[in-house]
Amino acid sequence: MNYFVSESSYLFNSGTEHSQAKRTALFNAMGNEAKFVTRNYSRFLNRDLTREGLTQAEGLNMYDYFQGITEVERKEQPLRLLKQIPLDEYHLVSTNPNYTCMEHDGRPIAKINVMPATVGLIDNINYRDRFGHDVMRENFDWRGFKSSVDYFHQNGDLGTQLFLNRDGQPVIEITHMNIGKKVQPTMWKLLNYKGHSYRFNNENQMFLFFLNELMSQNPGSTIISDRRSLDPIIADVQNAAAKFAYFHDTHTPDVQAPVHGKLYDAYKLALEDRPEAFDAVIVPTEKQRADLAQRYPEDHFIAIPDTYVSSEQLAAGRAASSNREHRIIFSGRLAPEKQPEHAIRVLKKVLDQVPDAQLEFRGYASSDDEQKQLDEQVKTLAVEDHVTFGPYLAPTELPDRLKDSAVIVQTSREEGLGMNLIEAMAYGVVPVSFGITYGTNDLITDGVNGAIVAQNDDDAMAAKIIELLTNSDLWHKESKAAIAKAATYDAKTVYNAWDGILAKA
């Protein structure tokens, strides 16, 4: 078995989770069993992994595992049809679409929250006492069953969390008590697992126990750490046939000097403190591999792309219309290191020549401030009618937008590879990027399948885009070349790269 490990999968995933999910799907498609392993408790994991295109069997969460709920078919559970609510005793009063009050003879005794983005499905029930304190909360899984119960302290802070199996028995307890003067989780206790209980002082200790269980159940397994925060745990895992750390990003903020620049702290463990704990560090590009090999000549580095395009994607891309709107896509988190403000400035310049140009952001803002700044910028530049902040789209949903977009821009300070570009190219979208570390040169040959301009050179970027949007022949030629370039990241090629190192390990 291959275990690809990260903290969680979210409603809005970043490239790391996308990459991990794609790799899981790739391995399973090639008949090499793999699982997307997560640590954090998430009642929405089924929803989020489904949006990544994974089946339940392809995901494996620690809490789900101990709760015995790794594979439960989803059954929508409307709150009003919940059998545990005695409708001959309580009134359910729908206050608004987000929650319903449970009332006894006119007095609220519980608040029932609706699962986000659903109509009337149960999310949780918050019971309160006669003084109005929240005392207990029952939490329901996306798949429609009660998964955990929370008890509260007097002041409303979380007190005890119980995680249940399908018989309602608690299998994990988390207590929240004092560490010094601060109330925080002090104990994870695994109850009666294979006849014994286990007490842990933190969640990672339990996660290590869990991963070791996986290794002993499936001897000969490979484990890959996809998040630097998990490197210390995976370094301690025993009895794995092979252990890797996969770096999805650059290892130093000093991208001009990747061989000598100061490391991000989180990368120290795998590179300097405990490199021997891993069979190799895997990076997405040959350039980063070479930089790291030069920096740490003793250690083993391998380059394998962190994404691939499926034959279905390529077929869909080739079949897509070549008659596209003047839409420029920006796909990625709206975060400072992605510099989305440059894209807006570029658009302003493009509009001088291409009055119907549109810029469409697809990605969630890393903070409310970030979104606010961008909104203000759009207003100041008076480009409101030409900029769209579209809702986050899951990997299963994004292709529909890509199919009729002309250009994708990348304005980041740094990237690990640029999987967003590869995916867009597969659909014939022409990339225009700042020349950055890493990935730009791997993906784009300037003037052939897109354009590379100097970092932060908005004028140059605007000029390239104007050219593409106004010269149809040029665009068609580069679009075709983009698809051809994406095809070099096809499933078989990428999987063969993996297969090579797994065989060696």
């Binding site: 609510i85 003084f131 119980l162 207590t175 109330v183 002090t186 104990m187």
Partner: protein, 540 residues
Amino acid sequence: MLGIKFRGTYKMNFFVNALMQKQKSGIEHAELTRLRLFNQHDTPARIVLRNYDPVLHQTLKDDGVDEAQVINMFDYYQQTQATPFNPTKVKDLDFGVLNTTTEFEAEHHRYLVYTPQHQLVARVNVRDDTEEVTSTELFDGFNNLYRVDFYDIRGFVTLQQWYSPDNKIENEVWLTPAGVPVVHAFNRADVNGDISQSGWLLTPVNGQVFSFDTIDELFGHFLNQLNDDFWDDKQPNVFILDRSTIADYTMIHFRKPAYRVLHFHNAQASAQDPMHSIVNNNYEFDLSVMDQFDASITATKRQAKDIEARFHPRTPIFTIAVGVVPERLLNAPRVPVSDREFGKMVVFARVAPEKQLDDLVRALGIVHKDYPQVSLDIYGYADSTNNYEARRKVLEAAKEVGMEDQVQLKGYTTDIDTVENKAMMYGLTSVMEGFNLAIMEASAHGLISFTYDVNYGPNEIVEDKVSGRVTPYKDIPAMAEAIKQVLADKSLAQKYSDGAYDSSKRYAPDAVWREWQALLDEAQKRWPAKLAALPTAAEK
């Protein structure tokens, strides 16, 4: 789902109480006596208990009560009515910590469990000098006491008390033996900052979730559930409420009909002024809602008459003795007075202020002047109220009348037959009584009784000039005179002793059962009308 164990039996007579502890009050004795009587007459009965009690099933075992006939509310929801005894031993505990070491602290009857680094993991409290675990105080890896687990005597965690960061009991959770939380109590501060039990949640396995403000509300829900579990269109469930304050409100608000009966185990008002005195606080509510019950029970006719006269209930009051004289005693050979120790008086009672036993000593003091043979043996625990005031007063009185040697405090005994077959007289000088089983038993042993004329019980159980003498309340010389008359006249003594034996037949099992049968018949008679008022039942 719940109470499935009881399905198949239908229609039930429930005796409703809070607890069945080792040291019982008259109410618990009355219930056990009644249970035996119902069993002898093949009439289904269950004692229903409200309070959590981790040693209940041991008590029942010791008392020879079939646990299937006792439904404790917590057991019911915890699904532990019939859990076998398999006490948890210290060695059975698993704290989830490897390689712990254990130290015994004899003075606290507990073990201390440590990690290899000598960090405290738990304190394990054990029962006396056994290895049986009664509770564990659990610590997390940061030295916080986060929970205390209580073990049922049968060997499972029954209650978990979760602690707050400032070390107060915050949440209480009762579990099934499989560890599923089913009953919850919360302790929280109100707007004034005063902490009290602020709510209850019932989360039965696969059942509906209910929220309650108080344990009384929860108990009411439980009683309704029992009424459903044992529901029978043909006959009513009968609920005898033996401890009124725990369920009187809820019983007049039952969801579905049942035959609901108030049992007055104590005097409803001052025994000396039953018509005008402030009523017994415990019964104030019940006396105000008697007509919302179906019937009431008193142990004596006199109490029934007083309640009728003052409160005019429109529902019937049944008089049913709370004591039963077993066939064994009724058929035992009678001991003639001449074979008894002349002048020996005994009392079986707690040495408590309301028993006024110092009055009895003073009466005997007067007798003692003419009959130096008289003596008094008192059997019963001394009440600790006001630093054992009652006992002090008895001893002071004995000294005053020069009977230090003749008045003896014997402590508690169960060997009543031996004591009462040797003695001659029985005395009672209480302020008031609810019935008084002891004087009934004394008569059944042929003892000549002397009692103040007090409500309720003594002045009815003792028939004046038949089985002894009933003398005016607080008239010590009158009682002394009555005793002297008996001591002076051997044939009179024998006549009263015979009268005592005979009068106890009023409390023979068959006699008391006839009184119960009258109530059960009335319940049945009223049932069609009650059922007719319930549309869903009528349709069935």
